[in-house]
């Protein structure tokens, strides 16, 4: 995003005659006008709900059942069964728990890291800014996916106190450590713009502390920017996790994740195509919904673009 676009976005909504409702109200109204975003929200809600309710399934996601191996989809097994006779729908839903959990954790990690680094750099400026931004640039030049593969092989074998839960947290940390840079840059650019706003100057001259100015006046005005970036980050993280697990470097079986289900499927998928179709379909549906939601949010938070669309600018 260019500085100009950020600036435009940060100027906030232009007052409109019918805007008797709050800013939030306007954002929601614009969001609901975006058909793709609404459809995405519904699909994502269904995916998240069914993943959360996976425990209601009568089948066990891990325990093999050699009497029913490689059954095609049927009424009792809507997605069929895998090579060890486990109900595939159950495994796909449990896999979704892992994939979505990694996605959400990565967003939280990158948001925390990126926003702190970006705000410190942008707000204090000077040598601190130079050092932090050179560091950000350096991390950006890393060949991310290659390092990701390397780091996840390392994390897999280190025994750390909080990392025993089948490396879900470890994978999230590794992905997060390599993808906070956009947040940092965005936050910094936004703060450089917002810092010059009159209300921020007023607050500083009234003696507000730096922490208060950042958390009360600057961050709330960047919410839109950060939320949109967070949706991008979420879909990126889910794809990265499934990619890593697909290659065998991420979540390890028997714990299912969408990526390692696909990777196991690649042995038998020519004869038993459902093994490859369903996990990938879940990734696809999740990512496309998240991306549509992100697009809707961008339009909702960005009045400039909305005005452009209806031809007023």
């Amino acid at each position: 995003m260019t500085d100009y676009a950020i600036e435009q976005q940060l100027k906030g909504p232009t007052p409109q005659p019918q805007a008797a409702t709050s800013y939030q109200g306007m954002v929601w109204r614009r969001f609901f006008k975006h058909r793709g975003a609404v459809a995405g929200a519904i699909v994502l809600a269904v995916v998240v709900l069914s993943v959360l309710l996976a425990g209601l399934s009568p089948y066990d996601p891990i325990e093999p059942n050699m009497k029913e191996t490689l059954q095609p989809p049927s009424l009792s097994h809507p997605m069929g069964t895998d090579a060890l006779g486990r109900d595939y729908l159950t495994r796909v839903l449990y896999g979704g728990r892992v994939s979505l959990a990694v996605g959400v954790m990565v967003v939280m990690i990158t948001l925390t890291l990126g926003v702190s680094i970006g705000s410190v750099a942008g707000y204090f400026g000077g040598w601190l800014d130079s050092v932090l931004m050179r560091f950000t640039d350096a991390v950006l030049t890393l060949p991310a996916f290659l390092i990701l593969i390397l780091l996840s092989t390392i994390m897999r074998e280190i025994e750390l106190p909080f990392f025993t839960q089948n490396n879900v947290v470890a994978i999230a940390v590794v992905i997060g450590l390599l993808s906070w840079m956009t947040f940092a840059r965005l936050t910094r650019a936004a703060i450089l713009t917002l810092r010059e706003m009159d209300y921020v100057k007023a607050s500083i001259s009234l003696g507000a502390s730096s922490l208060r100015v950042i958390t009360r006046h600057i961050l709330p005005n960047m919410v839109g920017l950060l939320v949109v970036e967070a949706t991008l980050e979420l879909s990126y993280a889910i794809i990265e996790e499934s990619g890593l697990s697909f290659l065998g470097f991420g979540i390890q079986p028997p714990t299912p994740s969408w990526g390692n289900l696909l990777s196991n499927a690649s042995e038998h998928f020519l004869k038993h195509p459902w093994l490859a179709i369903f996990p990938g379909l879940m990734i696809f549906l999740t990512i496309i919904s998240v991306n549509y939601i992100g697009d809707g949010l961008r339009d909702a938070f960005d009045p400039h673009k909305v005005l452009q669309k209806v031809g007023e600018v």
Binding site: P143, L146, L151, I154, L270, A276, G280, F284, D295
Partner: protein, 346 residues
């Protein structure tokens, strides 16, 4: 401008140096290590593991290993045959003099290993890039010129779908359809091959090569097409409302000239920059595509080396792609400044 380039090059040099230390530490600190497999097997005696350790130079402290890797061992004897006696100087030249060492797995020079794979990757990724651009550029222009038309709406949907399909899944589905289900009407075999660069039987044939390219290129290019066409569309839209476009129209230029001569030339500048930034991926290759379609390229070499803990090969690929990333970032900035004289560096 000259000052700017020199400053960036000096920065790049220090960055590379730091990067190499971090990567070396990461690669070598990984628990397990290249000999873990040997140690667990009952058939390998511990003396043999010790011997391999000395041969690979893994017996030395990490900083020493790094120095040997970086600058060679003219100053230190190493144990080349692993018998416990340090006998030779100067067996390694170090990467500064172009010696990336030997692969632990194949015992061949790393550069030889990479050379074999690099041409395969350049071939695949080159075709993929050209195909992507040939499709993405017209699509991008058309959807911008006819914004909100039926075509644009279809292409927007395609963009969202293309971004959301993981290429490893697309690859599997393509194999399922074109190898598993569809048949070649003449031979009765599968319509398209599921992997490899060429058929093992028969000599060289252009048709055979092309047939083997179709699936991997499709699987890899879809995401690029979606991304590049969308990028060009938004750049065109940024340009299309500007004053000089209106002026061009006002002086009576035909629409074709306005779009291609005045609009496209400006809208392509960011795309060229984007291409420069994507250059490293053309060299490091597509790990997923190469894995799924058994393509003997760089991506798969890295994958195998990570599995086998082949440190010298891992380091070489990491360093090469790190250098390329830094170089392409510099190139992107310079190309941007060259193509768009409004940008000034100092």
């Amino acid at each position: 401008m000259g000052n700017y380039i020199v400053r960036r090059l000096i920065q790049a040099f220090f960055l590379m140096f730091l990067l190499s230390i971090v990567m070396f530490a990461l690669v070598n600190l990984a628990p397990g290590g290249p000999l873990a497999g040997h140690g667990q097997s009952r058939h390998v005696r511990p003396e043999r593991v010790e011997m391999l350790k000395r041969q690979f130079g893994l017996d030395k402290p990490l900083p020493t290993q790094y120095l040997i890797w970086l600058a060679g061992n003219d100053w230190m004897k190493v144990d080349t045959n692993g018998d416990g006696v340090f006998e030779e100087y100067g067996t390694r030249k170090g990467i500064l003099r172009g010696d990336f060492g030997f692969s632990f797995r194949t015992r061949k020079p790393v550069l030889e290993e990479i050379g074999l794979r690099l041409s395969n990757t350049l071939y695949l990724m080159g075709v993929m890039l050209i195909v992507s651009l040939l499709i993405a550029i017209p699509v991008g222009i058309l959807s911008a010129v006819k914004q909100y038309s039926g075509f644009d709406i279809v292409m927007t949907t395609f963009f969202f779908a293309g971004q959301a399909i993981p290429e490893f899944w697309l690859g599997l589905i393509l194999i399922l359809i074109f190898y598993g289900y569809l048949e070649n009407p003449f031979t009765g075999g599968p319509l398209l091959p599921a992997g490899g660069m060429y058929s093992l039987q028969g000599g060289f044939s252009l048709v055979d090569r092309l047939v083997h390219l179709i699936l991997p290129v499709t699987a890899g290019a879809l995401g690029w097409i979606a991304w590049y066409s969308r990028f060009l569309r938004s750049n065109m839209l940024d340009v299309i409302h500007l004053d000089y476009m209106r002026t061009a129209r006002a002086k009576g230029l035909p629409q074709r000239l306005v779009i291609f001569k005045h609009g496209l030339r400006n809208a392509l500048i960011p795309l060229v920059t984007m291409l420069a930034l994507d250059l490293p991926y053309v060299v490091t290759g597509a790990v997923f595509i190469e894995t799924i379609f058994s393509w003997p390229g760089m991506g798969r070499l890295y994958y195998q080396s990570a599995m086998d803990r082949d440190y010298p090969v891992l380091m070489a690929i990491l360093i090469i792609s790190g250098a390329l990333m830094i170089f392409s970032n510099l190139m992107a900035d310079l190309v941007y400044g060259y193509l768009d004289p409004r940008i000034r560096y100092d």
